[in-house]
């Protein structure tokens, strides 16, 4: 069987380079298989995150030929093999080593989001149609590829002011839960900076779970924020009710 050539980023926080490896091709092979081959035969200390190898855990995100994706789903037979395949870590996060990046910022953002808080009178009956809408958001496997491609994070590095698409999806799952009682629009507007998103849909395009992040999560949430904070009638009512703006 023929070989494929890989150029894999090897390095740490400070420095690094693309190193070349030859890997024999097998039918149906994916990039993650090639990385495992490299570990077993050429570079035992090559750092890679992975778990399920079936697109369910979202651990093995990297940039293959410059395109962010899950390496467990990146088939070699869909890549041009006449030139080296480059594999690099996600760009929006600091490199720890090789293909492993520091994604801890995501976990800190998640902690800011008030959890599901059911209505006190909830009877725990729900219609499948209401549930369908939210289940789309709950499909998220936290691969952080949407965070990686979002230009607010990738190019402008607004990690202090902006939560990123992953967490708009999470908030949408809570806000649209049929039995949830909280409003998280203030959080969206201030802490998560939803206004920075100018709906270029990069996140939607890269989502391996086909979640319609922009159309189904971000735009409806932006509308809720506008309703709550920029609609003059609601603004007046809120003043009357004494809620904090």
């Amino acid at each position: 069987m023929a070989d494929a050539t890989f150029k894999v980023f090897r390095g740490d926080r400070e420095t690094g380079e693309l190193l070349e490896y030859q890997v024999p091709i097998a039918p149906g092979m994916v990039v993650l298989d090639a990385l495992h081959y490299i570990q077993a035969h050429q570079a035992p200390d090559l750092a890679v995150r992975w778990n399920c190898k079936a697109g369910k855990c979202g651990s093995c995100s990297a940039e293959v030929n410059g395109r962010p994706r899950l390496t467990c789903k990146a088939r070699l037979d869909a890549l041009p093999l006449d030139e080296p395949i480059s594999v690099q870590p996600m760009k929006a996060f600091p490199v720890l080593k090789d293909l492993v990046t520091d994604v801890s910022w995501n976990y800190r953002v998640n902690q800011k989001i008030p959890p599901f808080t059911p209505r006190p009178d909830a009877e725990w009956k729900m219609d499948q149609r209401e549930v369908d809408r939210v289940q789309e958001f709950r499909k998220c496997i936290e691969c952080f590829l949407c965070q990686n491609v979002c230009h607010v994070l990738r190019d402008h590095e607004k990690k202090e002011e902006f939560g990123g698409p992953r967490f708009f999806v999470r908030v949408a799952g809570l806000e649209m839960h049929p039995l949830d009682s909280l409003s998280r629009t203030e959080l969206l507007k201030n802490e998560l900076g939803i206004g920075f998103c100018n709906i270029t849909k990069c996140c939607t395009e890269v989502c391996p779970e086909d979640i319609h992040i922009t159309d189904n999560a971000i735009i409806p949430l932006k509308e809720r924020v506008i309703d709550d904070f920029y609609d003059p009638v609601r603004w007046f009512l809120r003043k009357l009710a004494g809620r904090k703006g």
Binding site: G28, P44, D45, N51, K53, G55, W124, M126, Q128
Partner: protein, 571 residues
């Protein structure tokens, strides 16, 4: 020179952040304890995330006639009566409440027409019993527990691996671990420890399990003096992917059969008619796995040595709705559209019924202060686990372990960390860096997987098992001398060198127990002893450490009370 290390202190340390570990943490937090959770991967990536089919609980939302008694009976029958009957009773009793609780914490299950949690059919369950979310139930469960735990305030030590339990006399006092990121050591001081590290599937070549599944918790507990039980019972899931090579072993959920999927051989024959004409495709996993394996061995297999599994007779939209991840998995990894044609499937190592021996009520091991829950613990499933009983196991016994660990921590006096144990542990970890020769850990791992696959697989006999044990001894010697290249920074070769040790300990326990049990029962099939043996129906194999030697003894199963006997005997 003594290696430097940082020290953290908690009332309770939980090792493993899958369903059992997270549920234990939530319960311990609710008791007011300080809780640390250690996991080898990032939070939310544990193996539970890959569970697909559902959570078994007799909620009676779809089949009104279901109740805990029937669930108990199904579990005992599925486990060929080797189960700890008290655990099976507790599990059947408490599962519905644990599922309702998940829903109240934000989990969104598929619904019935009248708005309740929908339940589906599964192998060995008499009624439609599995609460589910399409075929991604595990993801829903882990996300729900993760968010609940984070907001209740546990400390998570992500990408941190435990290499040794530390003791103060007979009692548990803490654990030694290292950070995967930078290779530095960390010592946890704790009054109780809950082991929730899952199974050992990575010791086999064809497996549905991820790199994490190296039997760490079982080996750590064994080293600390805990007993292992029922180690011969390894579940081979009937349906893993078989082609292309890179995806071999990846799980194909039993929900495909639950939703009406049909198994055929290369002649188009629905062969389950010959193995279990009554339950057909929804027979228990041990029976279906042996059937597929036998069909292939006798020349009736598919091109790549499996069987066909077909759901394409159902409407395409229905398949995509109920089995979305299977649809994507086959389309993207195998170029198969499951709404149009059959999948090729074959057995894959999936689950360990055996594990650490625990008390049914409290999940406590025989080591004071040490608890275990989930796949790492033994007892509930006996000789064979029913699909869907794992997720409920995690919730029911995860909660009980958290409760008991918190009670133990409250009444426990002060313990001290013994620096000599820490020193010995760090020395052991750093040794491989000093070697200039020796095998690569990847080579030893590959040979271990071949050994377990070939000699301790679905069908066993005395000759193979002896050969397997012999090979394991040689592998142990090689593993003790592996060489590690590179630095301590995120070095998977180094991590594997340590994981090998756990895999080898647990593999030896499996092979030894399999050699000892001279009968066939559930997932343990001896070609040389093909039938049930009445004597063995009352015995568990127990493995414990005696110095450097692994010892096996028998333990008589306690007599079942009359009321439970009556339930089991009903037809």
């Amino acid at each position: 020179m003594t290696e430097k290390y940082e020290t953290r202190e908690h009332d309770i340390l939980i090792i493993g952040a899958g369903g059992a570990g997270l549920r234990a943490a939530i319960e311990a937090l609710a008791q007011g304890a300080s809780v640390g959770v250690v996991c080898k991967s990032l939070l939310g990536k544990a193996h539970t995330v890959m569970a697909e089919g559902g959570i078994a609980a007799a909620m009676s939302n779809v089949d009104a006639a279901d109740d805990w008694r029937t669930h108990f009976r199904d579990t005992m029958r599925g486990g060929k009566f080797l189960n700890n009957w008290r655990m099976a009773q507790i599990h059947a009793h408490e599962s519905p409440e644990r599922v309702r609780e998940l829903e109240q914490w934000g989990a969104l299950f598929d619904r019935t027409a009248d708005g309740n949690i929908l339940q589906r059919a599964f192998g060995g369950h008499s009624f439609k019993r599995l609460c589910h979310v399409g075929d991604r139930t595990g993801l829903e469960m882990i996300r729900t527990l993760q968010d609940r735990g984070v907001h209740m305030g546990f400390d998570v030590y992500m990408e941190c691996a435990i290499t040794r339990l530390l003791k103060d006399g007979e009692r548990i006092a803490g654990a030694l671990g290292y950070w995967r990121e930078n290779g530095r050591f960390i010592v946890f001081k704790a009054k109780s420890i809950v082991i929730a590290t899952g199974g050992i599937g990575k010791a086999w070549r064809i497996t549905s399990n991820s790199w994490e599944y190296t039997g760490d918790g079982m080996a750590l507990a064994y080293d600390a003096g805990a007993e292992l039980m029922d180690m011969e019972f390894v579940q081979f899931h009937p349906t893993g992917m078989v082609w292309p090579p890179g995806v071999q072993g990846i799980l194909v959920t039993e929900a495909v059969r639950g939703e009406g999927g049909v198994l055929t051989n290369k002649d188009g024959e629905r062969f389950m008619q010959r193995y279990d004409p009554k339950k057909m495709e929804l027979s228990t996993r041990d029976v279906v796995a042996r059937a597929i394996y036998t069909e292939a061995r006798e020349g009736r297999g598919t091109e790549h040595g499996g069987a066909y599994l077909d759901i394409s007779h159902k409407p395409a939209e229905y398949v995509k709705k109920k089995l979305p991840s299977m649809y994507h998995q086959f389309r993207e990894l195998a170029d198969v559209d499951i709404t149009k044609g059959p999948m090729e499937v074959g057995p894959t190592c999936h689950y360990m019924m055996g594990g650490i021996r625990v008390d049914a009520e409290s999940a406590q091991t025989n080591v004071p202060g040490l608890f275990a829950a989930g796949e790492a613990a033994a007892g509930l499933h006996g000789a064979n686990r029913l699909g869907g009983n794992s997720l409920s196991d995690l919730l029911v016994f995860g909660r009980r372990a958290g409760l008991a660990a918190a009670a133990q921590a409250k009444q426990a006096g002060p313990t001290a960390i013994d620096d000599a144990q820490v020193k010995d542990g760090t020395r052991e970890m750093l040794e491989p860096f000093e070697r200039t020769d020796g095998d690569s850990p990847y080579d030893v791992h590959r040979d271990l997987q071949e050994t377990m696959q070939n000699y301790v697989g679905i069908f066993r006999n005395e000759e193979d098992l002896n050969r397997g044990l012999n090979e394991l001894q040689k592998l142990k010697q090689r593993a003790a001398k592996v060489r590690v290249d590179g630095s301590r920074l995120f070095n998977p070769g180094w991590h594997l060198a340590r994981d090998l040790k756990s895999m080898l300990t647990v593999s030896e326990a499996v092979a030894l127990s399999a050699l000892e049990r001279k009968e066939s029962r559930g997932a343990h099939s001896r070609i040389d002893y093909p039938n049930y043996d009445e004597q063995w129906s009352k015995l568990n194999n127990i493995i414990a450490r005696d110095g450097e030697t692994m010892r096996l003894r028998h333990r008589t199963i306690a007599e079942m009370p009359e009321d439970l006997k009556q339930i089991v005997d009903q037809s």
